[in-house]
């Protein structure tokens, strides 16, 4: 069964959101410590203790023939509990062209850094619980095997899944380059699917090594660029690369303000079960010393 690929209507709300983003870029004060530009790969840098980061990102999936275009936005609230423990809460949704828009669930992730100092390779342990449904399309990680689905959102959203996901994050800073690799294992607690595996790896570098003295928005030090690659590695039921999706994706992050940045990545699908293109974009805003401000509200020590 094939579905026609509908054309996208020029959506006024999206245009307004883009204009708002550009406006923010023009009025926000200048820049903060560079974060890696990756969307899928994690490096070993955790959120600074007490800081809260709000991020909204989206994955726009361009379809193969017979499939539908989808738009999957998600919001993240990230908090640095200590220097070695960061927690993050996600809410996600999805809109498929010619179909409905649905809420697809929430995720709670935690990252722990076991070693205190910087080493040649820095490990981070990642544990995530996902309370999602089958309509999820944000593709924050690619695991197991992929099957193109023509099912309607209403049907997919009715199938709830509870998943546990673990990652081993290994990351190095080699001079000014960051090199990171993640090994992913995921277990669907709602079904007897075995464990599904995946990987992601990335390399990124700031475009300038020295900070200029003046405030500037467009200078190279505000940009960090790189490339990441990610995909599925099968499952314990079929440990093979058949029907696995893989992507290669240039990534760029632009620090547009003291606390805000945008990042963008066009991911190219490398196999026949991958989407041909995934366009990812995100905006993040960091509130420094948020925990201290909250503690002060409740009479804690500043």
């Amino acid at each position: 069964m094939t579905f026609p690929v509908p054309c996208i209507r020029p959506a006024a709300p999206r245009l307004r959101a883009l204009l708002l983003l550009l406006l923010l870029a023009c009025v926000a004060p200048i820049v903060h410590a560079q974060e890696a530009p990756y969307f899928v790969t994690y490096d070993h840098h955790l959120e600074e203790p007490g800081n809260l980061e709000l991020e909204t990102s989206s994955t726009l999936g361009l379809p193969r023939s017979g499939q539908r275009l989808f738009f999957a936005p998600y919001s993240e609230i990230e908090y640095g509990i200590t220097g070695r423990w960061t927690t993050e809460l996600y809410f996600e949704g999805q809109r498929t062209s010619g179909d409905s828009a649905v809420f697809t669930g929430w995720r709670l992730e935690n990252r722990f850094r076991p070693l205190k100092r910087e080493h040649w390779i820095n490990p981070v342990l990642y544990l995530e619980y996902e309370g999602i449904n089958e309509a999820t399309r944000i593709q924050k990680e690619i695991v197991g095997h992929s099957e193109p689905s023509a099912a309607r959102n209403a049907e997919l959203a009715g199938t709830h899944v509870h998943e546990l996901e673990g990652k081993l994050i290994l990351s190095s800073n080699l001079h000014d380059w960051n090199v990171a690799g993640n090994f992913i294992a995921e277990k669907n607690l709602s079904a007897t699917e075995g464990f599904e595996f995946g990987y992601s790896m990335g390399v990124a570098r700031p475009l300038a090594r020295i900070a200029t003295s003046g405030q500037c928005r467009w200078c190279r030090e505000n940009f960090i660029a790189g490339v990441e690659m990610y995909g599925g590695l099968g499952s314990t039921l079929d440990l093979s690369l058949h029907h696995t999706a893989h992507y290669i994706a240039p990534v760029i992050r632009w620090q547009i303000g003291d606390s805000s940045s945008i990042h963008f990545s066009p991911a190219i699908g490398l196999t026949h079960v991958s989407n041909p293109v995934l366009l990812r974009f995100g905006y993040s805003y960091e509130i420094q010393a948020f925990g201290r401000k909250v503690a002060r509200m409740f009479g804690g020590k500043p």
């Binding site: 200048i30 820049v31 903060h32 410590a33 560079q34 974060e35 890696a36 490096d43 840098h45 955790l46 600074e48 203790p49 007490g50 609230i77 908090y79 640095g80 509990i81 200590t82 220097g83 070695r84 927690t87 809460l89 669930g105 929430w106 709670l108 850094r113 205190k116 100092r117 910087e118 309370g131 709830h160 800073n173 001079h175 000014d176 960051n178 700031p206 300038a208 090594r209 020295i210 900070a211 200029t212 003295s213 405030q215 030090e221 003291d258 420094q288 010393a289 948020f290 925990g291 201290r292 909250v294 503690a295 409740f298 804690g300 020590k301 500043p302």
Partner: protein, 133 residues
């Protein structure tokens, strides 16, 4: 299931925030810099004009805890003190790079190496003079 959980989700973040905030600053005697790091020279030592860029980086990354003049808020060290200024460039660079995560000082290894050295250049300008003491 999701509806039942939703009101409790913010609690998952707020509770750790409340318990994680703490304490006034106290020196950590276990935060020791390796000898080879202490001996490292600042590659930008001959380029003092780059301290201006260091000031910008300091303002963005350090002021929240160490204060505008590095005077130190309750949790963070006073960077003007002789006990800080008496440390070598290499030692300060190592501390900026590694942080002291168990005491709230984050690692800034995400900044390019030369930018961390620029911060060290700027820190030297915070040295308290006799008249200001």
């Amino acid at each position: 299931m999701i509806r039942l959980w939703t009101p409790f989700l913010p609690m998952l973040l707020i509770v750790p925030m409340a318990v994680a905030q703490n304490q006034n600053y106290q020196r950590d005697p276990s935060w020791r810099v390796p000898t080879e790091a202490i001996e490292k020279a600042n590659p930008l030592a001959e380029r003092p004009e780059l301290a201006a860029g260091g000031k910008k980086l300091f303002t963005r990354n350090c002021v929240e805890c160490h204060g505008k003049s590095g005077e130190g808020l309750k949790k963070a060290a006073d960077l003007q003190l002789p006990v800080v200024q008496g440390q070598s460039d290499g030692a300060l660079f190592w501390k900026i790079t590694n942080g002291n995560p168990d005491r709230g000082m984050p690692s800034f290894s995400r900044l390019p190496e030369l930018q961390r050295w620029q911060i060290v250049l700027y820190l030297r300008s915070l040295r308290r003079t006799e008249s200001s003491q």
